[in-house]
């Protein structure tokens, strides 16, 4: 077994339920590499919702709370608020995080709570059998868009940025080194960090949208269609070519939510000591 797997996976839960060729194994490896390099495994508190990506968390031999569809972020807030020293990481998918759980993403980003959201984007609802997702490219034929999707996709990175996230990156499973580096930066970041991972789903996206169920075809598709950009201002140019811009789009420092809460608590208690509270 891979030494990272040997060290960090819950062996009594194996084998993975992922389909052959799924990107989730690569994401697991990149994440564990980042965690191992930082030496923070024991501090992890993982949350996840529903969908293929949610199971990434469960196989890690850490404290894991896998809740309902779309609700991984509120669960993470409960864990962070009860012990801010936890490294809280949420694994979510494009349906889980951008559709049913989209509101929670907005508000966690707005609060700039210190946590990392890893959004695995396979451009489809895979576990339920290949229905259109908010991330699916317009025109795609899926089980629920048999005549082609007429909806425009939603860009999770732009949403997170607009809502107030303070670190935003997008990489793909075809860029494992950059992905591991982005995970490390996100885990070290003080505030709300959002990492989107474009990932291959040969079984649903590959077969029904891209035209092949071959894992290597799907990984090659990511290589061909993802373009790293140094400057986020160039995202539009890449998109105009029908491609997906990758990169570390944002890294800024803003007041962190739990630190602000602790400051508020301290000040409220002091004011009360002086007879300031009602």
């Amino acid at each position: 077994m891979n030494p990272l797997g040997e060290k960090y996976l819950r062996k009594d839960f194996l084998p993975f339920l992922f389909c052959p060729g799924c990107g989730n194994g690569m994401i697991t490896q990149a994440f564990l590499q980042a965690v191992d390099d930082l030496g923070i495994f024991d501090d992890l508190a993982l949350t996840a919702g529903i969908g293929c990506s949610a199971w990434i968390a469960v196989y890690m031999h850490a404290d894991v709370l896998k809740v309902l569809h779309g609700r991984a972020i509120p669960a993470a807030i409960g864990l962070k608020a009860t012990n801010p020293s936890r490294k809280v990481v949420t694994f979510t998918g494009d349906g889980d995080g951008l559709a049913i759980g989209g509101l929670h993403l907005l508000h966690a980003a707005r609060r700039n709570i210190d946590m990392t959201v890893i959004l695995v984007n396979n451009q489809i609802y895979a576990m339920t059998g290949g229905q259109v997702a908010p991330s699916t490219q317009a025109g795609s034929r899926t089980q629920t868009t048999p005549y082609g999707s007429v909806e425009k996709p939603l860009d999770g990175c732009r949403v997170a940025t607009a809502a107030g996230a303070t670190l935003v990156s997008r990489w793909s499973t075809a860029h494992p080194k950059q992905l591991t580096r982005a995970f490390k930066k996100a885990l070290n970041h003080r505030g709300f960090s959002f990492v989107e991972v474009l990932s291959q789903c040969p079984v649903q996206t590959g077969r029904y949208i891209l035209g092949s169920g071959s894992p290597s075809f799907n990984l090659q598709w990511l290589r061909d269609h993802c373009v790293p950009v140094e400057d986020p201002a160039r995202m539009g140019e890449v998109e105009a070519q029908g491609k997906v811009p990758l990169g570390d789009f944002l890294e800024i420092q803003n007041p962190e939510f739990m630190e602000e809460v602790q400051r508020m608590n301290r000040e409220a208690k002091e004011a009360r000591g002086k007879g300031g509270d009602r």
Partner: protein, 378 residues
């Protein structure tokens, strides 16, 4: 006499006071009438005790974050009213499935949908028990006074910790906003329960294996147990269960509560315990029923008011006992007969007459209406 102090307060304020004394240190809620005073009170009080109060983006986030906080090791609560309670339903099942102790207050108002936001009602009785999908069990308490709101809130936390379940306090607008005397005991005069922690190290710990009490020990996150907690039907080690394991899990999370109902069931009688005519009620309606009993006594009419305090799981045996000898039973409630259905299910004697005195639309039933009901229907 216990040591303590007496304060005039609203039911909603009594709830805040009691939650803090019970050890609640995490609260999440979304503003809604007539429950908002609980969120407001928590927002003001929790920072002073190093707690945390979150105004969530919706009631789904509120209850899910409470579940997260519970696994984080804290005692946690949320409060809402009907429309918010609807949103919480998915997470009620979640709390039951991941066995996260927590307290959910539903201050009932008129329904369905937006209903009547400032009026009282009791239409969420079934929702409290059956609102989420699948089989699960939980305990629901029904206070009728500000004092009971205080006492039931302490009890709700204790029962949640004892059984590792969500406990629902089914209050209503009358209990929420009435101002009356509440006795607040000194903290050392209160019995406070804490969840059972594992007695073995991680290597020997089986996450969802319970002893004879059917309640597995619960470690907090990041205390070395590295526990997998999933919302699926589980095997003992926490993974997705096969059919046999799923069945065992579902049966256990129901049995741990239902088989121990004698431990916590509470039904009280006010008035003449042998009276042939009995009112049965829960929540704020019990107040009017008590007054009706007093008025009946003045007129030489023997009456008893039987008041259900723990309404779920329904206290079949205790209610039957409390209604022994009653020939005419009037179930009084602010819905179209939910409690009546339960009473009918329990009392199958065809000789006993079970009538429904229903008041809906937001007007609270008056004591004289109880007596008029007895006269007019006769």
């Amino acid at each position: 006499m216990k040591k303590g102090r007496i304060k005039v307060m609203q039911g909603n304020e009594a709830c805040v006071e009691a939650a803090l004394l019970a050890g609640c240190r995490f609260f999440a809620g979304y503003p809604i009438t007539p429950a908002s005073e609980i969120l407001e009170g928590m927002a003001r009080r929790l920072p002073l005790v190093d707690g945390f109060c979150l105004q969530a983006e919706d009631e789904i986030a509120a209850l899910v974050s409470v579940v997260g906080a519970s696994w984080g090791g804290a005692k946690a609560m949320t409060a809402t009213s009907g429309p918010g309670f609807c949103l919480m339903m998915e997470a009620v099942g979640l709390a039951a499935s991941v066995e996260a102790p927590c307290v959910i207050v539903n201050v009932q108002r008129g329904g369905p949908a937006s209903g009547q936001s400032t009026s009282t009602a009791q239409g969420d009785l079934y929702q409290a028990r059956y609102g989420s999908n699948g089989d699960y069990s939980l305990i629901t308490l029904c206070p009728s006074t500000a004092q009971e709101m205080f006492d039931h809130t302490i009890r709700a936390f204790n029962l949640a910790e004892r059984f590792r379940i969500p406990v629902i306090i089914l209050s209503d607008e009358v209990v929420a906003h009435i101002r009356e005397k509440v006795f607040i005991p000194e903290p050392d005069g209160l019995e406070i329960a804490e969840r059972k922690k594992p007695a073995v190290p991680m290597e020997k710990f089986v996450p969802f294996q319970a002893g004879e009490d059917d309640v597995p020990p619960m470690p907090a996150f990041n205390t070395g147990y590295k526990i997998p907690v999933i919302s699926q039907a589980k095997s003992l080690n926490g993974n997705r269960g096969n059919a046999r394991e799923a069945e065992a899990f579902i049966r256990r999370i129901c049995r741990k509560v239902d088989a121990r109902i004698a431990e916590f069931a509470d039904v009280r009688t006010y008035g003449d315990e042998k009276a042939q005519t009995a009112f049965v009620s829960f929540g704020s309606v019990s107040r009017a029923a008590r007054s009706a009993v007093d008025m009946g006594r003045e007129r030489g009419l023997p009456l008893r008011s039987v008041e259900v305090k723990t309404i779920w799981p329904f206290p079949d045996d205790l209610l039957e006992k409390k209604l022994e000898g009653a020939k005419r039973i009037v179930v009084a409630e602010m819905n179209l007969g939910m409690l009546r259905n339960e009473v009918q299910r329990v009392l199958r004697d065809p000789e006993i007459e079970i009538e429904l005195f229903s008041k809906i639309g937001g007007l609270y039933p008056l004591p004289q209406e109880f007596l008029r009901f007895l006269e007019e229907k006769r």
